[in-house]
Protein backbone atom coordinates (compact mmCIF):
# COMPACT_ATOMS: atom_id res chain seq x y z
CA UNK A 1 0.00 0.00 0.00
CA UNK A 2 2.81 2.34 0.79
CA UNK A 3 3.99 2.10 -2.82
CA UNK A 4 0.75 3.67 -4.02
CA UNK A 5 0.84 6.63 -1.68
CA UNK A 6 4.47 7.46 -2.40
CA UNK A 7 5.09 9.96 -5.24
CA UNK A 8 6.24 8.51 -8.55
CA UNK A 9 9.74 9.92 -8.38
CA UNK A 10 10.52 8.11 -5.14
CA UNK A 11 9.61 4.67 -6.49
CA UNK A 12 12.25 2.06 -7.08
CA UNK A 13 12.87 0.84 -10.63
CA UNK A 14 10.91 -2.35 -9.92
CA UNK A 15 7.95 -0.28 -8.69
CA UNK A 16 8.05 1.85 -11.83
CA UNK A 17 7.84 -1.30 -13.94
CA UNK A 18 5.27 -3.18 -11.84
CA UNK A 19 2.74 -0.40 -11.18
CA UNK A 20 1.93 0.33 -14.86
CA UNK A 21 1.73 -3.41 -15.47
CA UNK A 22 -0.87 -3.78 -12.70
CA UNK A 23 -2.88 -0.92 -14.24
CA UNK A 24 -2.60 -2.52 -17.67
CA UNK A 25 -3.85 -5.89 -16.39
CA UNK A 26 -6.86 -4.27 -14.69
CA UNK A 27 -7.69 -2.24 -17.81
CA UNK A 28 -7.39 -5.31 -20.05
CA UNK A 29 -9.64 -7.36 -17.77
CA UNK A 30 -12.29 -4.62 -17.82
CA UNK A 31 -12.04 -4.35 -21.61
CA UNK A 32 -12.36 -8.12 -21.97
CA UNK A 33 -15.46 -8.26 -19.77
CA UNK A 34 -17.00 -5.29 -21.63
CA UNK A 35 -16.22 -6.89 -25.00
CA UNK A 36 -17.76 -10.21 -24.04
CA UNK A 37 -20.84 -8.48 -22.55
CA UNK A 38 -21.51 -6.46 -25.72
CA UNK A 39 -20.70 -9.38 -28.05
CA UNK A 40 -17.83 -7.61 -29.84
CA UNK A 41 -15.14 -10.14 -28.98
CA UNK A 42 -16.98 -13.28 -30.18
CA UNK A 43 -17.70 -11.53 -33.50
CA UNK A 44 -14.03 -10.52 -33.81
CA UNK A 45 -12.90 -14.08 -33.05
CA UNK A 46 -15.22 -15.44 -35.75
CA UNK A 47 -13.96 -12.87 -38.28
CA UNK A 48 -10.32 -13.59 -37.42
CA UNK A 49 -10.97 -17.32 -37.74
CA UNK A 50 -12.36 -16.95 -41.24
CA UNK A 51 -9.42 -14.72 -42.20
CA UNK A 52 -6.90 -17.27 -40.94
CA UNK A 53 -8.77 -20.14 -42.59
CA UNK A 54 -8.61 -18.44 -45.97
CA UNK A 55 -4.83 -17.78 -45.83
CA UNK A 56 -3.64 -20.78 -43.83
CA UNK A 57 -0.20 -21.30 -45.48
CA UNK A 58 0.69 -17.62 -45.17
CA UNK A 59 -0.44 -17.42 -41.54
CA UNK A 60 1.46 -20.62 -40.77
CA UNK A 61 4.57 -19.19 -42.39
CA UNK A 62 4.35 -15.86 -40.54
CA UNK A 63 3.93 -17.68 -37.23
CA UNK A 64 6.83 -20.04 -38.02
CA UNK A 65 9.15 -17.22 -39.11
CA UNK A 66 8.44 -15.09 -36.05
CA UNK A 67 8.80 -18.10 -33.76
CA UNK A 68 12.15 -19.05 -35.29
CA UNK A 69 13.49 -15.49 -35.14
CA UNK A 70 12.33 -14.89 -31.56
CA UNK A 71 13.62 -18.31 -30.50
CA UNK A 72 17.20 -17.26 -31.34
CA UNK A 73 17.24 -14.65 -28.55
CA UNK A 74 16.70 -16.94 -25.51
CA UNK A 75 18.85 -19.60 -27.20
CA UNK A 76 21.78 -17.20 -27.36
CA UNK A 77 21.22 -16.14 -23.74
CA UNK A 78 21.17 -19.74 -22.54
CA UNK A 79 24.33 -20.65 -24.45
CA UNK A 80 26.18 -17.54 -23.21
CA UNK A 81 25.19 -18.35 -19.63
CA UNK A 82 26.28 -21.98 -20.12
CA UNK A 83 29.60 -20.78 -21.46
CA UNK A 84 30.23 -18.37 -18.59
CA UNK A 85 29.22 -20.85 -15.91
CA UNK A 86 30.83 -24.02 -17.26
CA UNK A 87 34.12 -22.34 -18.17
CA UNK A 88 34.13 -20.86 -14.69
CA UNK A 89 33.73 -24.33 -13.20
CA UNK A 90 36.48 -25.68 -15.49
CA UNK A 91 38.74 -22.85 -14.26
CA UNK A 92 37.68 -23.54 -10.64
CA UNK A 93 35.94 -20.17 -10.35
CA UNK A 94 32.36 -19.52 -9.26
CA UNK A 95 31.26 -17.71 -12.40
CA UNK A 96 28.28 -15.33 -12.51
CA UNK A 97 26.33 -15.50 -9.26
CA UNK A 98 24.85 -12.05 -8.67
CA UNK A 99 21.91 -11.46 -11.01
CA UNK A 100 19.08 -13.95 -10.70
CA UNK A 101 19.32 -17.32 -8.95
CA UNK A 102 22.85 -18.73 -9.56
CA UNK A 103 23.49 -15.83 -11.92
CA UNK A 104 21.08 -17.18 -14.53
CA UNK A 105 20.00 -13.70 -15.66
CA UNK A 106 23.59 -12.52 -16.19
CA UNK A 107 23.60 -13.13 -19.96
CA UNK A 108 20.18 -11.48 -20.35
CA UNK A 109 21.51 -8.41 -18.57
CA UNK A 110 24.57 -8.51 -20.87
CA UNK A 111 22.22 -8.54 -23.84
CA UNK A 112 20.25 -5.53 -22.63
CA UNK A 113 23.49 -3.75 -21.76
CA UNK A 114 24.71 -4.15 -25.36
CA UNK A 115 21.32 -2.86 -26.54
CA UNK A 116 21.73 0.30 -24.47
CA UNK A 117 25.36 0.97 -25.51
CA UNK A 118 26.38 3.68 -27.92
CA UNK A 119 26.53 2.42 -31.51
CA UNK A 120 29.50 4.39 -32.81
CA UNK A 121 30.68 4.67 -36.41
CA UNK A 122 34.41 5.51 -36.51
CA UNK A 123 35.78 7.96 -39.10
CA UNK A 124 37.07 6.49 -42.34
CA UNK A 125 34.87 3.37 -42.44
CA UNK A 126 32.80 2.44 -45.48
CA UNK A 127 29.45 3.09 -43.80
CA UNK A 128 26.98 1.04 -45.92
CA UNK A 129 29.22 -2.04 -45.97
CA UNK A 130 30.06 -1.52 -42.28
CA UNK A 131 26.36 -1.53 -41.37
CA UNK A 132 25.37 -4.42 -43.63
CA UNK A 133 28.13 -6.79 -42.48
CA UNK A 134 26.45 -7.84 -39.18
CA UNK A 135 23.16 -8.25 -41.04
CA UNK A 136 24.77 -10.66 -43.51
CA UNK A 137 26.52 -12.62 -40.75
CA UNK A 138 23.34 -12.88 -38.68
CA UNK A 139 21.15 -13.79 -41.66
CA UNK A 140 23.54 -16.49 -42.88
CA UNK A 141 23.28 -18.09 -39.45
CA UNK A 142 19.57 -17.71 -38.81
CA UNK A 143 18.28 -18.55 -42.29
CA UNK A 144 19.62 -22.08 -42.00
CA UNK A 145 17.10 -22.61 -39.18
CA UNK A 146 14.39 -22.59 -41.85
CA UNK A 147 15.13 -26.19 -42.87
CA UNK A 148 16.11 -27.63 -39.47
CA UNK A 149 13.47 -30.14 -38.29
CA UNK A 150 12.80 -29.49 -34.59
CA UNK A 151 10.06 -32.06 -34.06
CA UNK A 152 7.56 -34.07 -36.13
CA UNK A 153 5.71 -31.45 -38.18
CA UNK A 154 7.70 -28.64 -36.62
CA UNK A 155 9.92 -27.51 -39.50
CA UNK A 156 9.95 -24.16 -41.31
CA UNK A 157 10.06 -25.54 -44.85
CA UNK A 158 10.72 -29.20 -45.65
CA UNK A 159 12.87 -28.72 -48.76
CA UNK A 160 14.08 -31.68 -50.80
CA UNK A 161 17.48 -29.96 -51.12
CA UNK A 162 17.56 -29.06 -47.42
CA UNK A 163 21.18 -29.99 -46.81
CA UNK A 164 22.45 -28.18 -49.90
CA UNK A 165 20.44 -25.11 -48.89
CA UNK A 166 21.93 -25.31 -45.41
CA UNK A 167 25.52 -25.28 -46.67
CA UNK A 168 24.76 -22.72 -49.36
CA UNK A 169 23.31 -20.18 -46.95
CA UNK A 170 25.83 -21.02 -44.22
CA UNK A 171 28.63 -20.32 -46.70
CA UNK A 172 27.48 -16.69 -47.03
CA UNK A 173 29.01 -16.20 -43.57
CA UNK A 174 32.39 -15.63 -45.29
CA UNK A 175 31.01 -12.68 -47.24
CA UNK A 176 29.81 -10.98 -44.07
CA UNK A 177 33.13 -11.50 -42.27
CA UNK A 178 35.08 -10.15 -45.27
CA UNK A 179 32.73 -7.14 -45.46
CA UNK A 180 33.29 -6.40 -41.77
CA UNK A 181 37.07 -6.77 -42.06
CA UNK A 182 37.39 -4.71 -45.21
CA UNK A 183 35.06 -1.83 -44.34
CA UNK A 184 36.47 -1.19 -40.85
CA UNK A 185 39.56 0.84 -41.94
CA UNK A 186 41.65 -0.97 -39.37
CA UNK A 187 44.58 -3.29 -40.04
CA UNK A 188 43.59 -5.73 -37.28
CA UNK A 189 40.12 -5.97 -38.76
CA UNK A 190 41.49 -6.57 -42.23
CA UNK A 191 43.80 -9.35 -41.01
CA UNK A 192 40.97 -10.85 -38.97
CA UNK A 193 38.57 -10.76 -41.90
CA UNK A 194 41.07 -12.34 -44.29
CA UNK A 195 42.00 -15.01 -41.77
CA UNK A 196 38.32 -15.72 -41.29
CA UNK A 197 37.79 -16.10 -45.03
CA UNK A 198 40.78 -18.45 -45.44
CA UNK A 199 39.73 -20.56 -42.45
CA UNK A 200 36.04 -20.79 -43.29
CA UNK A 201 36.54 -21.71 -46.94
CA UNK A 202 39.17 -24.31 -46.02
CA UNK A 203 36.88 -26.03 -43.52
CA UNK A 204 33.87 -25.71 -45.80
CA UNK A 205 35.24 -28.68 -47.81
CA UNK A 206 35.53 -31.25 -44.98
CA UNK A 207 32.19 -30.00 -43.63
CA UNK A 208 30.37 -30.63 -46.89
CA UNK A 209 32.29 -33.80 -47.81
CA UNK A 210 31.84 -35.31 -44.34
CA UNK A 211 28.09 -35.73 -44.82
CA UNK A 212 28.25 -37.33 -48.28
CA UNK A 213 28.17 -40.73 -46.56
CA UNK A 214 24.90 -39.81 -44.87
CA UNK A 215 23.38 -38.70 -48.18
CA UNK A 216 24.51 -41.99 -49.74
CA UNK A 217 22.92 -44.05 -46.98
CA UNK A 218 19.74 -41.97 -46.86
CA UNK A 219 19.35 -41.35 -50.59
CA UNK A 220 17.85 -37.92 -49.88
CA UNK A 221 18.96 -34.41 -48.90
CA UNK A 222 15.74 -33.52 -47.07
CA UNK A 223 16.64 -33.17 -43.39
CA UNK A 224 13.16 -34.29 -42.38
CA UNK A 225 13.53 -37.53 -44.37
CA UNK A 226 17.00 -38.13 -42.91
CA UNK A 227 15.53 -37.92 -39.40
CA UNK A 228 12.65 -40.24 -40.30
CA UNK A 229 15.13 -42.83 -41.62
CA UNK A 230 16.82 -42.96 -38.20
CA UNK A 231 13.64 -43.88 -36.32
CA UNK A 232 13.74 -46.82 -33.94
CA UNK A 233 16.32 -47.35 -31.21
CA UNK A 234 19.60 -45.48 -30.89
CA UNK A 235 21.36 -48.21 -32.88
CA UNK A 236 19.66 -46.87 -36.02
CA UNK A 237 21.42 -43.51 -35.73
CA UNK A 238 23.81 -42.75 -38.56
CA UNK A 239 26.74 -42.12 -36.21
CA UNK A 240 27.23 -45.88 -35.90
CA UNK A 241 27.40 -46.27 -39.66
CA UNK A 242 29.42 -43.09 -40.23
CA UNK A 243 31.83 -42.70 -37.27
CA UNK A 244 34.60 -41.15 -39.38
CA UNK A 245 32.12 -38.89 -41.16
CA UNK A 246 30.83 -37.67 -37.80
CA UNK A 247 34.34 -36.94 -36.52
CA UNK A 248 35.27 -34.98 -39.65
CA UNK A 249 31.99 -33.11 -39.60
CA UNK A 250 32.31 -32.22 -35.93
CA UNK A 251 35.86 -30.86 -36.23
CA UNK A 252 34.91 -28.89 -39.33
CA UNK A 253 31.79 -27.57 -37.59
CA UNK A 254 33.87 -26.23 -34.70
CA UNK A 255 36.11 -24.44 -37.22
CA UNK A 256 33.14 -23.15 -39.23
CA UNK A 257 31.58 -21.69 -36.11
CA UNK A 258 34.88 -19.91 -35.35
CA UNK A 259 34.95 -21.54 -31.93
CA UNK A 260 37.96 -22.39 -29.78
CA UNK A 261 40.37 -24.09 -30.43
CA UNK A 262 39.88 -22.72 -33.96
CA UNK A 263 38.85 -19.17 -33.01
CA UNK A 264 41.71 -17.47 -34.86
CA UNK A 265 39.38 -15.04 -36.59
CA UNK A 266 38.76 -13.11 -33.39
CA UNK A 267 41.81 -14.29 -31.38
CA UNK A 268 41.41 -11.57 -28.77
CA UNK A 269 44.94 -11.94 -27.46
CA UNK A 270 46.56 -11.62 -30.92
CA UNK A 271 44.57 -9.29 -33.18
CA UNK A 272 42.40 -7.51 -30.55
CA UNK A 273 39.01 -8.81 -31.75
CA UNK A 274 39.63 -9.50 -35.42
CA UNK A 275 36.98 -8.25 -37.79
CA UNK A 276 34.86 -6.92 -34.90
CA UNK A 277 37.48 -4.49 -33.54
CA UNK A 278 35.84 -1.28 -34.77
CA UNK A 279 32.28 -2.35 -33.97
CA UNK A 280 30.33 -1.22 -30.93
CA UNK A 281 26.80 -1.34 -29.59
CA UNK A 282 24.20 -3.51 -31.24
CA UNK A 283 26.09 -3.93 -34.50
CA UNK A 284 28.88 -5.55 -32.47
CA UNK A 285 26.25 -7.49 -30.55
CA UNK A 286 24.89 -9.08 -33.70
CA UNK A 287 28.25 -10.69 -34.56
CA UNK A 288 28.29 -12.51 -31.25
CA UNK A 289 24.57 -13.15 -31.31
CA UNK A 290 25.13 -14.82 -34.69
CA UNK A 291 28.07 -16.80 -33.33
CA UNK A 292 26.04 -18.29 -30.48
CA UNK A 293 23.07 -18.98 -32.73
CA UNK A 294 25.50 -20.71 -35.10
CA UNK A 295 26.73 -22.92 -32.25
CA UNK A 296 23.13 -23.98 -31.64
CA UNK A 297 22.46 -24.54 -35.35
CA UNK A 298 25.63 -26.58 -35.92
CA UNK A 299 24.85 -28.71 -32.86
CA UNK A 300 21.31 -29.12 -34.18
CA UNK A 301 22.62 -30.23 -37.58
CA UNK A 302 24.96 -32.76 -35.94
CA UNK A 303 21.95 -34.08 -34.00
CA UNK A 304 19.81 -34.29 -37.13
CA UNK A 305 22.40 -35.93 -39.35
CA UNK A 306 24.11 -38.32 -36.98
CA UNK A 307 22.08 -38.64 -33.78
CA UNK A 308 18.54 -39.26 -34.95
CA UNK A 309 17.12 -35.74 -34.62
CA UNK A 310 13.90 -35.82 -32.65
CA UNK A 311 13.78 -39.61 -32.34
CA UNK A 312 13.87 -40.92 -28.78
CA UNK A 313 16.90 -43.15 -28.02
CA UNK A 314 14.56 -45.98 -27.07
CA UNK A 315 10.96 -46.48 -28.09
CA UNK A 316 9.13 -46.40 -24.75
CA UNK A 317 5.59 -46.81 -26.07
CA UNK A 318 5.37 -50.65 -25.69
CA UNK A 319 6.60 -50.30 -22.10
CA UNK A 320 4.06 -47.56 -21.34
CA UNK A 321 1.24 -49.58 -22.88
CA UNK A 322 2.27 -52.60 -20.82
CA UNK A 323 2.19 -50.52 -17.64
CA UNK A 324 -1.21 -49.16 -18.64
CA UNK A 325 0.06 -45.60 -18.77
CA UNK A 326 -1.08 -44.71 -22.29
CA UNK A 327 -3.35 -41.83 -21.38
CA UNK A 328 -5.74 -40.42 -23.91
CA UNK A 329 -6.58 -36.89 -22.91
CA UNK A 330 -9.42 -35.51 -24.95
CA UNK A 331 -10.26 -32.35 -23.06
CA UNK A 332 -13.12 -30.50 -24.79
CA UNK A 333 -12.69 -26.81 -23.93
CA UNK A 334 -15.62 -25.80 -26.13
CA UNK A 335 -18.13 -27.51 -23.84
CA UNK A 336 -17.19 -25.22 -20.97
CA UNK A 337 -18.50 -22.20 -22.88
CA UNK A 338 -18.66 -18.95 -20.90
CA UNK A 339 -17.56 -20.89 -17.84
CA UNK A 340 -14.09 -21.04 -19.39
CA UNK A 341 -13.82 -17.25 -19.40
CA UNK A 342 -14.73 -17.08 -15.71
CA UNK A 343 -12.26 -19.88 -15.04
CA UNK A 344 -9.52 -17.89 -16.77
CA UNK A 345 -10.51 -14.68 -14.97
CA UNK A 346 -11.09 -16.13 -11.50
CA UNK A 347 -8.58 -19.00 -11.55
CA UNK A 348 -5.46 -16.89 -10.90
CA UNK A 349 -7.15 -14.90 -8.12
CA UNK A 350 -8.52 -17.91 -6.26
CA UNK A 351 -5.37 -19.93 -6.84
CA UNK A 352 -3.14 -17.12 -5.62
CA UNK A 353 -5.26 -16.59 -2.50
CA UNK A 354 -5.34 -20.31 -1.73
CA UNK A 355 -1.60 -20.74 -2.19
CA UNK A 356 -0.76 -17.54 -0.31
CA UNK A 357 -2.90 -18.43 2.71
CA UNK A 358 -0.60 -21.07 4.24
CA UNK A 359 2.43 -18.78 3.89
CA UNK A 360 0.57 -15.90 5.54
CA UNK A 361 -0.61 -18.14 8.37
CA UNK A 362 2.64 -19.99 8.99
CA UNK A 363 5.23 -17.27 8.43
CA UNK A 364 4.34 -14.54 10.90
CA UNK A 365 7.26 -12.38 9.73
CA UNK A 366 5.94 -12.21 6.13
CA UNK A 367 3.76 -9.33 5.02
CA UNK A 368 0.49 -9.93 3.14
CA UNK A 369 2.08 -8.65 -0.07
CA UNK A 370 5.02 -11.05 0.15
CA UNK A 371 2.76 -14.05 0.72
CA UNK A 372 0.59 -12.96 -2.19
CA UNK A 373 3.59 -12.60 -4.52
CA UNK A 374 4.92 -16.04 -3.54
CA UNK A 375 1.42 -17.50 -3.94
CA UNK A 376 1.09 -15.99 -7.42
CA UNK A 377 4.50 -17.31 -8.50
CA UNK A 378 3.67 -20.79 -7.17
CA UNK A 379 0.32 -20.73 -8.97
CA UNK A 380 2.01 -19.85 -12.25
CA UNK A 381 4.57 -22.62 -11.78
CA UNK A 382 1.77 -25.12 -11.13
CA UNK A 383 -0.16 -24.00 -14.20
CA UNK A 384 2.94 -24.18 -16.39
CA UNK A 385 3.73 -27.65 -15.08
CA UNK A 386 0.18 -28.86 -15.70
CA UNK A 387 0.09 -27.38 -19.22
CA UNK A 388 3.51 -28.85 -20.01
CA UNK A 389 2.43 -32.30 -18.82
CA UNK A 390 -0.81 -32.09 -20.79
CA UNK A 391 1.04 -31.08 -23.96
CA UNK A 392 3.70 -33.74 -23.49
CA UNK A 393 1.08 -36.47 -23.20
CA UNK A 394 -1.12 -35.17 -26.01
CA UNK A 395 1.32 -34.28 -28.78
CA UNK A 396 4.29 -36.26 -30.05
CA UNK A 397 5.76 -32.96 -31.31
CA UNK A 398 6.48 -31.91 -27.71
CA UNK A 399 8.28 -35.18 -26.97
CA UNK A 400 10.22 -34.83 -30.24
CA UNK A 401 11.14 -31.25 -29.40
CA UNK A 402 12.37 -32.37 -25.98
CA UNK A 403 14.70 -34.98 -27.47
CA UNK A 404 15.95 -32.63 -30.17
CA UNK A 405 16.74 -29.86 -27.67
CA UNK A 406 18.31 -32.30 -25.20
CA UNK A 407 20.63 -33.83 -27.80
CA UNK A 408 21.48 -30.43 -29.26
CA UNK A 409 22.49 -29.03 -25.88
CA UNK A 410 24.76 -32.02 -25.30
CA UNK A 411 26.74 -30.85 -28.34
CA UNK A 412 26.52 -27.22 -27.25
CA UNK A 413 28.08 -28.39 -23.99
CA UNK A 414 30.87 -30.14 -25.91
CA UNK A 415 31.54 -26.88 -27.80
CA UNK A 416 31.80 -25.02 -24.48
CA UNK A 417 33.88 -27.77 -22.93
CA UNK A 418 36.39 -27.59 -25.79
CA UNK A 419 36.64 -23.83 -25.37
CA UNK A 420 37.40 -24.23 -21.70
CA UNK A 421 39.95 -27.00 -22.18
CA UNK A 422 41.91 -26.72 -25.42
CA UNK A 423 44.49 -24.05 -26.30
CA UNK A 424 44.17 -22.17 -29.57
CA UNK A 425 45.99 -23.77 -32.52
CA UNK A 426 48.51 -21.95 -34.72
CA UNK A 427 47.30 -20.69 -38.11
CA UNK A 428 49.65 -22.93 -40.14
CA UNK A 429 48.55 -25.98 -38.13
CA UNK A 430 44.94 -24.99 -38.71
CA UNK A 431 45.22 -24.68 -42.49
CA UNK A 432 47.49 -27.69 -42.86
CA UNK A 433 45.09 -29.86 -40.84
CA UNK A 434 42.15 -28.98 -43.06
CA UNK A 435 43.89 -29.68 -46.36
CA UNK A 436 46.33 -32.47 -45.46
CA UNK A 437 44.22 -34.53 -43.05
CA UNK A 438 40.53 -33.74 -43.05
CA UNK A 439 40.03 -33.48 -46.81
CA UNK A 440 41.74 -36.84 -47.68
CA UNK A 441 39.96 -38.44 -44.69
CA UNK A 442 36.61 -37.20 -45.97
CA UNK A 443 37.31 -38.61 -49.43
CA UNK A 444 38.40 -41.91 -47.87
CA UNK A 445 35.15 -41.98 -45.87
CA UNK A 446 33.23 -41.40 -49.10
CA UNK A 447 34.84 -44.37 -50.88
CA UNK A 448 34.60 -46.70 -47.90
CA UNK A 449 30.90 -45.90 -47.59
CA UNK A 450 30.43 -46.49 -51.32
CA UNK A 451 32.15 -49.89 -51.08
CA UNK A 452 30.05 -50.80 -48.03
CA UNK A 453 26.82 -49.86 -49.81
CA UNK A 454 27.85 -51.97 -52.82
CA UNK A 455 28.76 -54.94 -50.60
CA UNK A 456 25.47 -54.79 -48.70
CA UNK A 457 23.62 -54.51 -51.98
CA UNK A 458 25.43 -57.57 -53.38
CA UNK A 459 24.69 -59.69 -50.29
CA UNK A 460 20.96 -58.88 -50.41
Amino acid sequence: MSALTRPWGHLTLAGKIILPLVGLVIALTLLLLLGVATGVIPALVLFGGSLVGANLPIVRFIVAASAILLMTVPTAFVIIYMEMKFIAFINMRLGPNRIGPWGTLQSTIHGFKVLAKEDFTPTGVDVPVFTLAPVVVYLSAVMTLLVLPFAPGLVGVDMNIGLLYFFGIGGLNVVGLLMAGWSSFNKYSLIGGLRAAAQVISYELPLTLGVVGVIMLAGTMSLNQIVLLQAGSFLDWFVFQQPLGFLIFFIAAVAEGNRAPFDLTEADSEIVAGFATEYSGMRFGFFFFAEYVAVFILSGLITVLFFGGWNAPLDLNPLLNWAGLSVNTGLDFGRLGVGLLFLIALGPVVGTLLLALPFWMLRSDWSVLKSLVIGFLLFNLLIMGAVGLYLAISFEAVVGLFWFIAKTYVFVFVFVWMRGTLPRVRIDQLMGFAWKWLLPAALLNLFVTALAVITVDAIR
Binding site: F61, A65, S66, L69, V114, L115, K117, E118, D119, F120, P122, T123, G124, V135, L139, M143, L146, G156, V157, Y165, F185, N186, K187, Y188, L190, L194, A197, A198, I201, S202, E204, L205, T208, L209, V212, I215, M216, G219, T220, M221, T277, E278, G281, M282, R283, G285, F286, D428, M431, G432, W435, K436, L439, L443, L446, F447, A450, V453, I454, D457
Partner: protein, 118 residues
Protein backbone atom coordinates in the same frame (compact mmCIF):
# COMPACT_ATOMS: atom_id res chain seq x y z
CA UNK B 1 8.73 -22.15 -56.48
CA UNK B 2 6.96 -21.79 -53.12
CA UNK B 3 10.24 -22.73 -51.44
CA UNK B 4 11.88 -19.67 -52.99
CA UNK B 5 9.10 -17.41 -51.72
CA UNK B 6 9.52 -18.88 -48.23
CA UNK B 7 13.27 -18.18 -48.36
CA UNK B 8 12.72 -14.60 -49.56
CA UNK B 9 10.02 -14.00 -46.96
CA UNK B 10 12.21 -15.33 -44.19
CA UNK B 11 15.16 -13.24 -45.36
CA UNK B 12 12.92 -10.18 -45.28
CA UNK B 13 11.74 -11.07 -41.77
CA UNK B 14 15.34 -11.55 -40.61
CA UNK B 15 16.51 -8.24 -42.08
CA UNK B 16 13.57 -6.44 -40.45
CA UNK B 17 14.42 -8.09 -37.14
CA UNK B 18 18.04 -6.90 -37.28
CA UNK B 19 17.17 -3.34 -38.27
CA UNK B 20 14.36 -3.13 -35.69
CA UNK B 21 16.80 -4.19 -32.97
CA UNK B 22 19.39 -1.68 -34.17
CA UNK B 23 16.62 0.95 -34.23
CA UNK B 24 15.59 0.17 -30.66
CA UNK B 25 19.25 0.37 -29.64
CA UNK B 26 19.49 3.75 -31.42
CA UNK B 27 16.52 5.02 -29.41
CA UNK B 28 17.83 3.69 -26.09
CA UNK B 29 21.49 4.61 -26.28
CA UNK B 30 23.15 7.96 -25.83
CA UNK B 31 25.19 9.37 -28.69
CA UNK B 32 28.16 11.67 -28.41
CA UNK B 33 30.30 12.93 -31.26
CA UNK B 34 33.50 13.24 -29.23
CA UNK B 35 36.73 14.76 -30.56
CA UNK B 36 38.73 13.42 -33.50
CA UNK B 37 40.49 10.86 -31.33
CA UNK B 38 37.23 9.02 -30.71
CA UNK B 39 36.84 8.19 -34.38
CA UNK B 40 40.38 6.93 -34.93
CA UNK B 41 40.78 3.20 -35.68
CA UNK B 42 41.92 1.27 -32.63
CA UNK B 43 45.33 -0.22 -33.28
CA UNK B 44 46.51 -0.87 -29.73
CA UNK B 45 46.88 2.82 -28.93
CA UNK B 46 49.26 3.72 -31.76
CA UNK B 47 48.00 6.19 -34.36
CA UNK B 48 47.35 4.46 -37.66
CA UNK B 49 49.76 5.07 -40.53
CA UNK B 50 49.50 4.46 -44.24
CA UNK B 51 46.41 3.30 -46.06
CA UNK B 52 44.58 0.21 -44.79
CA UNK B 53 43.06 -0.34 -48.21
CA UNK B 54 46.37 -0.24 -50.04
CA UNK B 55 48.29 -3.22 -51.39
CA UNK B 56 48.16 -6.15 -49.04
CA UNK B 57 50.17 -9.37 -49.19
CA UNK B 58 47.73 -12.22 -49.65
CA UNK B 59 49.73 -15.34 -48.99
CA UNK B 60 46.70 -17.55 -49.38
CA UNK B 61 44.88 -16.71 -52.58
CA UNK B 62 45.91 -20.18 -53.79
CA UNK B 63 43.70 -21.66 -51.05
CA UNK B 64 40.82 -19.80 -52.64
CA UNK B 65 41.68 -21.27 -56.06
CA UNK B 66 41.84 -24.79 -54.62
CA UNK B 67 38.59 -24.14 -52.76
CA UNK B 68 36.75 -23.20 -55.95
CA UNK B 69 37.94 -26.37 -57.68
CA UNK B 70 36.93 -28.62 -54.78
CA UNK B 71 33.68 -26.86 -54.00
CA UNK B 72 32.38 -27.42 -57.51
CA UNK B 73 33.47 -31.04 -57.12
CA UNK B 74 31.31 -31.20 -53.97
CA UNK B 75 28.22 -30.21 -55.96
CA UNK B 76 28.82 -33.13 -58.34
CA UNK B 77 29.52 -35.51 -55.48
CA UNK B 78 26.24 -34.56 -53.76
CA UNK B 79 24.19 -35.36 -56.84
CA UNK B 80 26.17 -38.57 -57.35
CA UNK B 81 25.59 -39.60 -53.73
CA UNK B 82 21.87 -38.93 -54.11
CA UNK B 83 21.50 -41.51 -56.90
CA UNK B 84 24.31 -43.82 -55.78
CA UNK B 85 22.00 -46.77 -55.08
CA UNK B 86 21.03 -46.78 -58.78
CA UNK B 87 24.52 -46.62 -60.29
CA UNK B 88 26.63 -48.66 -57.77
CA UNK B 89 29.88 -50.08 -59.25
CA UNK B 90 29.87 -48.07 -62.48
CA UNK B 91 29.23 -44.91 -60.53
CA UNK B 92 32.00 -45.69 -58.06
CA UNK B 93 34.55 -46.21 -60.85
CA UNK B 94 33.67 -42.98 -62.62
CA UNK B 95 33.69 -41.04 -59.34
CA UNK B 96 37.09 -42.56 -58.47
CA UNK B 97 38.49 -41.28 -61.79
CA UNK B 98 36.93 -37.85 -61.22
CA UNK B 99 38.24 -37.49 -57.67
CA UNK B 100 41.57 -38.99 -58.71
CA UNK B 101 42.19 -36.19 -61.20
CA UNK B 102 41.40 -33.60 -58.53
CA UNK B 103 43.60 -35.39 -56.01
CA UNK B 104 46.45 -35.22 -58.54
CA UNK B 105 45.98 -31.46 -58.52
CA UNK B 106 45.95 -31.40 -54.71
CA UNK B 107 49.08 -33.56 -54.63
CA UNK B 108 50.81 -31.15 -57.01
CA UNK B 109 49.86 -28.18 -54.82
CA UNK B 110 51.03 -30.09 -51.73
CA UNK B 111 54.35 -30.93 -53.41
CA UNK B 112 54.87 -27.28 -54.42
CA UNK B 113 54.42 -26.30 -50.75
CA UNK B 114 51.26 -24.28 -51.32
CA UNK B 115 49.49 -25.92 -48.40
CA UNK B 116 52.19 -24.77 -45.97
CA UNK B 117 51.17 -21.44 -44.44
CA UNK B 118 53.75 -18.68 -44.88
Amino acid sequence: MTGLWYILGFAFAGISFVFLTIGVSWLLSHRHKGDRHKGLPYESGIDTYGDTWGRFGLSFYIYALLFVAFDIEVIFIYLWALVFRDVLVGGLVSMAIFVGILLLGLGYAWRKGVLTWR
